[in-house]
């Protein structure tokens, strides 16, 4: 993961965009992570006959090229489906700027290297305005310095240290944690027999 995400911002102000909307269930019948780009935001991007909805921001020039979304409150709420994050990334989205995200979505994003900088509602509204300007130019999300730059604007953002480190290092949490196997065994050795779940098949 590079220490910066650069791209065009698109304004997506709707509040409470849930993961059912980001990845409708008909695209979830899959056992792989691939092939989700078409399903992403499908009901907003396409009509019943699969024609592009001209009014949706990602179907309008120049935002067909957007790789950063500026979003309304509570983006990513609802179902835990990680497919929502996989799909956004396969659609070419590398960063989502908001004033707060639903918890599971936030964690899923971190696991996959999708940057979710958190700004105040006021800054988010300002960036939303900028994103609506077709001539706004490139936005830079600087992960190392926790700073968003676009045009002459500079805004600090919040990102907890663990998420920031995970993004910068692009690490594999599972393999990293297995290095702590000894600590896990030590914890387990303190569990009584009645604290060790054993599901009978």
């Amino acid at each position: 993961m590079p220490d910066q995400v650069t791209g065009l911002m698109a304004a997506f102000p709707q509040p409470n965009v849930d993961t059912d909307v980001i990845m409708p269930k008909r695209f979830l019948i899959t056992i792989t992570r691939e092939g989700l780009a078409d399903g992403t935001l499908a009901d907003l991007r396409f009509d019943e006959d699969n024609n592009k909805r001209p009014e949706f921001v990602l179907n309008r020039s120049p935002w067909t090229e957007a790789s950063i979304l500026v979003v309304g409150d509570n983006f990513g709420c609802g179902s835990s489906r990680e497919h929502a994050v996989w799909g956004l990334m396969q659609l070419g989205i590398k960063g989502v700027i908001g004033s707060g995200f639903a918890g599971i979505f936030y964690d899923n994003a971190r696991k996959n290297g999708l940057a979710l900088p958190i700004v105040s509602p006021e800054v988010r509204d300002e960036l939303m305005q900028v994103a609506r300007d077709p001539d706004a130019g490139q936005c830079i999300i600087d992960i190392t310095n926790r700073r968003i730059s676009v045009g002459s604007q500079r805004h600090p953002f919040e990102m907890d240290e663990a998420t920031r480190a995970a993004l910068l290092e692009g690490r594999d949490d599972t393999l990293d944690t297995l290095k702590l196997a000894q600590s896990i065994r030590a914890y387990e050795s303190n569990l009584t027999q009645k604290m060790r779940v054993n599901v009978i098949q």
Partner: protein, 464 residues
């Protein structure tokens, strides 16, 4: 030092601190379903990893299976179901599949099988894992990468949440249920109002609820963004888990799982039980609800242009006009099911309303018991007869069904549904489908009347 219940649970499960500020927590029990786990198993395969402790996991088929018949309704869902079974076989993980008497919606199955106890930490690739908080257990939803992590390490990387206390004090008015309590809480705090928080529910109205009601409340806490919901364990909790298949084999400590008297929460909300009316949702977010004798809001009710735009969008999607009386909203169908409201207590409550009544002609009504065990119990009590006589379609198999419409129970474009489920999102029950959330008794009343109806004015034999 005094501690909240949440902090006690986190501290008890902490394996170690991590250098980046997170911690590692131990997962006592992990549940999987067929749609959020396949990529976790393939992750293990790619990395050549084994499951750390196979006996601490359970897989249940619930999201994509058909409920009209046992066999999968199409090849794609069969693929997901078979994939889960094969993965479980390979890794020696318990699997409750189609036809297994223990199968059903995961969050209904787990308490039924006695697989939850106060003091446990439970993770599952499903957001409604908050349900287990009803038992004083820390349950929370995780994504697929985290499912892989739990399988391989029996732990999760975890960041401590802030805590919010929601006190609901007083006695509920007749006709008001646990569903109305939680819908009120979501309305007051807002969808996303508890993002970053673990919410503890307290107060006499919460304690008075039976375990089924407490589960309904903790289940829908995720609709306010809470990553975890908790209710202190008491004698009722312990009584409810006695005598079930697994319960005798666990002990994580009993009623000591409660917040200390003077524990400080980061935020507190007080809600008077008397102020809660039977609620229905009118919009496309679970916090958009009004009392059943109320009206759909008008733009004048909201302050900001942003809120006005959201309201207008929701009204357009729902096909409603601002200011119209909620009880004038005619429905096309009724659905009783989901991990929020499909337990035996919910079926009994709806059956009481339906006894001696008929679903009005033109309305399609479906009931999907939350689990096979629940269905058999209901059939034993003759509840299936009451539903069937009233004109409900009593489904012979259990699962999530029309709660999220991943099987063949899909609402049509524009179809308006009175639903006992938890999410009224755009397209949740089918593309263009219009969902109104409410208690199971109110779904039954709406099915009989053909429009959203006030349970307090509804005359029924089964009334107390």
């Amino acid at each position: 030092m005094t501690k909240t219940l949440y902090d006690k649970l986190v501290d008890a499960h902490k394996v170690c601190d991590l250098p980046d500020g997170d911690m590692l927590v131990y997962v006592d029990f992990h549940i999987m379903n067929e749609y959020t786990s396949p990529q976790a198993f393939s992750g293990l395969d790619q990395k050549g990893l084994d499951v750390w402790r196979p006996e601490a996991h359970l897989s249940v088929v619930d999201h994509v299976n058909a409920t009209r018949q046992r066999d999968p309704h199409d090849d794609a869902s069969k693929l997901l179901i078979d994939n889960l079974e094969n993965n479980c076989r390979k890794h020696n993980i318990a699997f409750y599949g189609l036809g297994d008497p223990r199968q059903g919606i995961e969050h209904v199955v787990v308490p039924e099988q006695g697989l939850v106890a106060p003091g446990m930490l439970i993770a599952c690739g499903d957001s409604h894992t908050t349900t287990y908080g009803a038992f004083g257990a820390l349950g929370f939803g995780i994504g697929t990468s985290e499912v892989e992590h739990v399988l391989a390490t029996q732990t999760l990387r975890y960041k401590r949440l802030k805590t919010m206390l929601v006190n609901v004090e007083g006695a509920l008015a007749p006709g008001v249920t646990a569903k109305d309590i939680i819908m009120k809480v979501v309305q007051v705090i807002g969808a996303g109002g508890a993002n970053g928080y673990a919410v503890e529910f307290a107060g006499s109205a919460i304690r008075d609820q039976d375990m089924s009601g407490r589960m309904t409340i903790c289940n829908m806490a995720v609709e306010l963004g809470a990553r975890a919901a908790l209710i202190a364990a008491d004698e009722k909790t312990l009584a409810a888990i006695k005598g079930r298949a697994h319960s005798e084999s666990f002990d994580f400590g009993g009623t000591e799982w409660r917040s200390d008297e003077s524990a400080v929460h980061d935020q507190t909300f007080d809600i008077a039980a008397e102020d809660i009316a039977p609620l229905v949702s009118w919009g496309t977010s679970p916090d958009q609800s009004v009392p059943i004798d109320g009206r759909v809001p008008t733009a004048g009710d909201t302050a900001t242009p942003k809120a006005k735009a959201a309201l207008e969008r929701a009204l357009a999607y729902m096909g409603l006009s601002a200011g119209q009386s909620v009880q004038d909203i005619a429905i096309d169908s009724a659905f009783i099911g989901s991990c929020t409201n499909s337990r035996i207590e919910d079926l009994r409550a709806a059956a009481a309303v339906l006894k001696g009544n008929k679903v009005v002609s033109g309305v399609t009504a479906i009931v999907v018991p939350g689990s096979t065990y629940t269905r058999l119990q209901a059939e034993n009590e003759g509840i299936d007869k009451i539903f069937i006589d009233a004109g409900f379609d009593w489904r012979p198999e259990s699962g999530c069904s029309m709660c999220l419409a991943m099987n063949d129970d899909i609402a049509m474009d524009g179809e308006r549904i009175a639903s006992s489920t938890n999410r009224n999102f755009e397209g949740r029950q089918g593309r263009g489908a219009r969902t109104h959330l409410m208690s199971p008794a109110m779904v039954a009343a709406a099915a009989v009347k053909g429009h959203l109806a006030d349970i307090r004015e509804f005359q029924f034999e089964g009334a107390e």
